[in-house]
């Protein structure tokens, strides 16, 4: 079953996945000894720094050649090594019905591909990964992935989320439970269009909690507003419908002014949200992942365009503050 190609399999070649490496902030919380090198002194083979020998240090770590270059012979230099520690990564996916839009190039699919790629990268380094849904819906809200079979579970979880995308609600899931799971995590990645309606301000509270204890919150924003406006412009006359709801009979005419107003409203909303989420560890780049222009093309071609867009944009994601992707370590 696992040999079959699933729709949520990220369209990245194995070579590309092999080239990608996760970079963590030096002060990210750890889960103890692991495969990831931290800028903390430890017992790995990677050189970290020189320091003066102190009583009690292992004499075997003295660098005698460097010590001879010291002005005083009694000043011995000790080589220190970086520590290998296991970190935790939490990936929160926005699974609102609106994420299934645009129909031909759904953002949820991009989000699932990104999540599966991040899971693979983290698991390959021996880290622990949490996959969580932002909004309530059928299936497991949070799944913990570690050890053997973690990738397969991640695949099943993502496939289930994709199949049940129309059954999700707009309301947030139980954030406390997510936070409990997130407690030992070093970094949180939120994949969303950030256009959700949050009258109870659950997202700012969640973000502040996620940024506690030197943890970081990276936002991978998926922006398809211009793409969808392009679809409306091409149709000129259309029945406008809400995501996941039956369309009404009222027919509308495209209006550039109205769309400009909507664009401004979205910008204001994002500005306000960015301000509300900021708590020291927020990594929300100014440039989101922008959807390509709408084109009239075959459905299969549109899906290929989305795959190409993912393959080109994902390795260059501007997630620099807490979590870096791309390049070899």
């Amino acid at each position: 079953m696992t040999s079959e190609i699933a729709i949520t399999d990220p369209p990245l070649s194995p070579a590309m996945l092999d080239r990608l490496v996760l970079h963590w902030r030096r002060d990210a919380p750890t889960l103890g000894t692991g495969a990831h090198l931290r800028r903390r002194q430890g017992h790995s083979l990677k050189f970290r720094d020189y320091r003066a020998w102190q009583r009690g240090d292992d004499i075997r770590n003295v660098d005698w050649r460097a010590s001879l270059r010291q002005s005083r012979r009694e000043d011995l230099l000790l080589r220190s090594f970086e520590a290998e520690e296991r970190l935790a990564l939490a990936i929160v996916l926005d699974n609102r019905p609106a994420m299934a839009l645009p129909e031909a190039m759904p953002r949820l699919l991009y989000a699932l591909w990104a999540a599966r790629a991040l899971v693979a990268l983290a698991l390959d380094k021996g880290h622990e990964v949490f996959l969580a849904k932002l909004c309530a819906g059928p299936g497991e809200t949070v799944v913990t992935l570690r050890g053997a079979g973690a990738k397969a579970r991640a695949r099943i979880w993502c496939e289930t989320l994709w199949r049940q995308r129309s059954e999700a609600s707009d309301g947030f899931a139980n954030c406390d439970r997510i936070l409990q799971k997130l407690r030992p995590a070093g970094a949180v990645v939120l994949v969303s269009d950030m256009l959700f309606d949050d009258p109870e301000r659950q997202m700012p509270r969640f973000a502040q909690l996620a940024q506690r204890r030197q943890r970081s919150l990276s936002v991978l924003q998926l922006d398809s507003v211009r793409h969808e406006i392009g679809l409306l412009r091409a149709a000129q006359k259309f029945h406008l419908s809400l995501p996941g709801q039956e369309p009404g009979n009222e027919m509308h005419l495209f209006d550039e002014t109205v769309m400009l107003t909507a664009t401004h409203a979205i910008a204001d909303h994002l500005q306000e949200l960015r301000h509300a989420l900021h708590a020291g560890g927020l990594d929300w780049p100014q440039e989101p992942v922008i959807w390509p222009e709408a084109e009239t093309c075959v459905a299969a071609v549109a899906l290929e365009r989305l795959k190409t867009h993912f393959a080109q944009s994902f390795p260059r994601l501007p997630m620099h503050a807490g979590l870096n992707l791309g390049g070899r370590g």
Partner: protein, 537 residues
Amino acid sequence: MIWTAVPVVLAAAAVLLWHMQKPRPPHIAVSFVRFVPALPPAPGGWSRIALTIPRDPLTLGCLLAAAALCLWTLFDAERSYQATRPDHLGLRVIFDRSHSMSAADGGETRFARAFARLEAALVALGNAGAVGQCVEVIGVAGAIGAAQLMQPGSSPQAETLAPLPQGGDPALLVAAAARPQGECALTHVLVLTDIAQPGGAPADGPPWGWDQIGAPLGNSGLRSLDFRPAAFGQTSSEIRIEGVSSGQIPPARLRLEGPGGLQDLNVIPDPDAEGRWSALATYIGAGDYRASLLGGDGYAGDDVVLARLDRPTGALAEWRLDTLARPAALEAGGPDAPLVTQNDRVAPDDLSRPILITYPGFEAGLSGRAIGPFRDDAVLFAALNFDALEPVLPLPMPGVLPPGFVPVLTDDQGGTIIARRAQPFGLILPQPRLDLPDPQRSLSLALFFAGLADLLTLPPEPQPLRWVTTDEIEVSDAWRESLTARPAAVPADLTVFSKTSAAEEAMPVWPWAVLAALALILAERMLRLARRAERIL
């Protein structure tokens, strides 16, 4: 036809309306709808049909062109049908009833085969769908029979067309086919015969179908029997029998049965004419003769001939010469026999029969005259030496030459020494003289006997023959049927009846129009499939 066209027109209109439909406004769901203020409603609602450029002009063009081609096909097919369906079919069947049609040909007689072809032709004629039709059957053997007008739907009677014991003649078949039409207005002529077509069909008149029946059959047949009278110096008369052979058969074996018994004759091929041969038999005497070809062959009607001969066996002549007795080889003849006489015993009636007239020409002593103008006569001059003749040149014939005689040899004074008449045979010569010394004696005898031999050499006399079958049924002119090994020709095309009686119609175009319409429909389907694959998002 108009009711057939109506559905096509309605279908074309429906196709046009279908393609004039405007696409329904799409239902579009956007993720940021909660940020979108109220959009202006579309004015005037939405109508299904619009007089605008069709949304898929290529497929519409294919379907409309296909519909137009179908309409055109309907009209063109109607025209073609009317053009190819004859209003009237008139068939004249020339049925060969000659005796060779009774020849067995692969287990079936040629007559049976021809009759089956006649029935097939009548069936094809009935299936042609003509409004009116008539069939005229003419049997031809030794003569052209009466035309039988057949009622539509009736079958021909085999007895009325059975072979007759008569030899056929291709010219009679052609003449019968070309006879002016009678009650039946002719559109086609069909000749059913075992004879090859002599030449092509006439340029004018209805088209002919020459249906040659039967496979080639090797055959030998008796063609003629001549009586060759005995000539001077020949002891008896002869019978010469001629025959023909055709095809791959063994050499003929001929037997002659006459008053003197049976004679098996040697057949001698004619080196100058392939397939012809002859045989010579001794004429025994007057009586009935029966010549028979032994062994079977393709046609039996020409294998036996009967002839009655009443001619004498030897040469005859009426002799009125005093200077020379009648030779022993000559029998004394009557008024019908050639006459050998002196010029002073010629009666006026004698000039109407073959005659040799002598006159006293040779004399003793030298003549003193020279040979004058003469015309070459191989028979007379073959045994004559002019150098020996000129010194003793005979006297010219006294008096005027009888009517019809022309000089052959004259002296230098214009006197006629030898004269000849062509028809009936006649010669005027100097008398033979036994009483003169040589060379007058020898010259006179040589000249006389050369003329006498020429007088008594009569041409062969063709004898009237009767051909009989083994059943003793007499077949007139059976020799005309002998060439049964003629090459077989291609059977006539009986499908011509389903075509127009006028000129050949060109192939109708409407099947191509149907094909083009189908191709257009296929193209429309392919375009629509392509559009479906390229569904606009």
